[in-house]
């Protein structure tokens, strides 16, 4: 019964990604199984060294780094998107698992939400 939340919007320029993260953390807070999948420009949420305070927003990287502590089961990132944005494993927050975005990946989740 795990819910997969897909984040395909990049950070800070619009709120869709952030609202997806809030959904994931909310499921986790209610002890519901949840995983996050970052794809497209959304993989940029996972880049180390974000300084969102410079544009008067809240950094999410600390929350994301601690996502599994908060009860989020998996942080997944699409490998093609990572390559596109020049993101090697060393550039990423801890705990990110690289996957391929394809139907077989999605099929293991009972709910899939793409906010």
């Amino acid at each position: 019964m795990t819910t997969l939340i897909i984040i395909d919007q990049p950070p800070y320029g619009n709120w869709a990604g952030r609202e997806g993260l809030d959904m994931a953390f909310s499921l986790a807070a209610f002890d519901q199984p949840v995983a996050l999948l970052f794809t497209g420009a959304g993989v940029n949420w996972l880049r180390q060294g974000q300084q969102a305070e410079l544009i008067a927003q809240k950094n999410v990287d600390r929350n994301l780094s601690a996502a599994t502590v908060f009860g989020v089961d998996q942080l997944l990132a699409d490998s093609t998107s990572l390559t596109r944005f020049g993101l090697a494993p060393v550039d990423l927050l801890a705990g990110v698992e690289t996957v391929r975005f394809e139907p077989a990946l999605l099929s293991s989740y009972s709910h899939v939400v793409c906010p």
């Binding site: 869709a16 959904m23 909310s26 209610f30 519901q32 709910h111 939400v113 906010p115």
Partner: protein, 138 residues
């Protein structure tokens, strides 16, 4: 063909009226759900979707008032409708309790909408047999 069964739905609207088509597509879908004999457990407004619950929307007289149309459906079928509190406060949608808490000059939440947390959405995910999202288009 499987025999028809009664299903329960949670509808989540994340697109605003007069900017996206989400509230109107969701309304047509809701009417068809009810016409088919199914039940709508709740409607959850999230992100920009919370603007649907503003009582102050004043569209031109030759355009639909989506807040009013949704309000009529919700009331007629006693369907609870909740705007996410975090989305609502940031965007300036307040009920009298939040108006008082934040010392604001007015409240603007339309009846029968209510303001509550994402827990309402989690409950919908758990209880309803179907959850259907109506996002902002592009």
């Amino acid at each position: 063909m499987p025999s028809p069964r009664i299903l329960t739905y949670t509808l989540v609207i994340t697109g605003a009226p007069y900017t996206s088509q989400a509230p109107q597509t969701a309304l047509n879908f809701a009417q068809a759900v009810l016409a088919a004999g199914h039940t709508i457990d709740r409607v959850f407004l999230y992100g920009d979707g919370i603007h649907l619950a503003s009582v102050l929307a004043a569209p031109p007289s030759d355009e639909a008032n989506w807040t009013q149309r949704w309000g009529e459906l919700l009331t007629a079928h006693e369907i609870p409708a909740v705007a996410c509190i975090a989305s609502a406060l940031r965007r300036g949608l307040l009920d009298p309790a939040e108006q008082a808490r934040y010392e604001k000059p007015a409240a603007n939440l339309a009846a029968p909408f209510e303001i509550a947390g994402l827990g309402e959405w989690v409950e919908g995910q758990l209880q309803s047999s179907r959850v259907v999202y109506f996002h902002s288009g592009a």
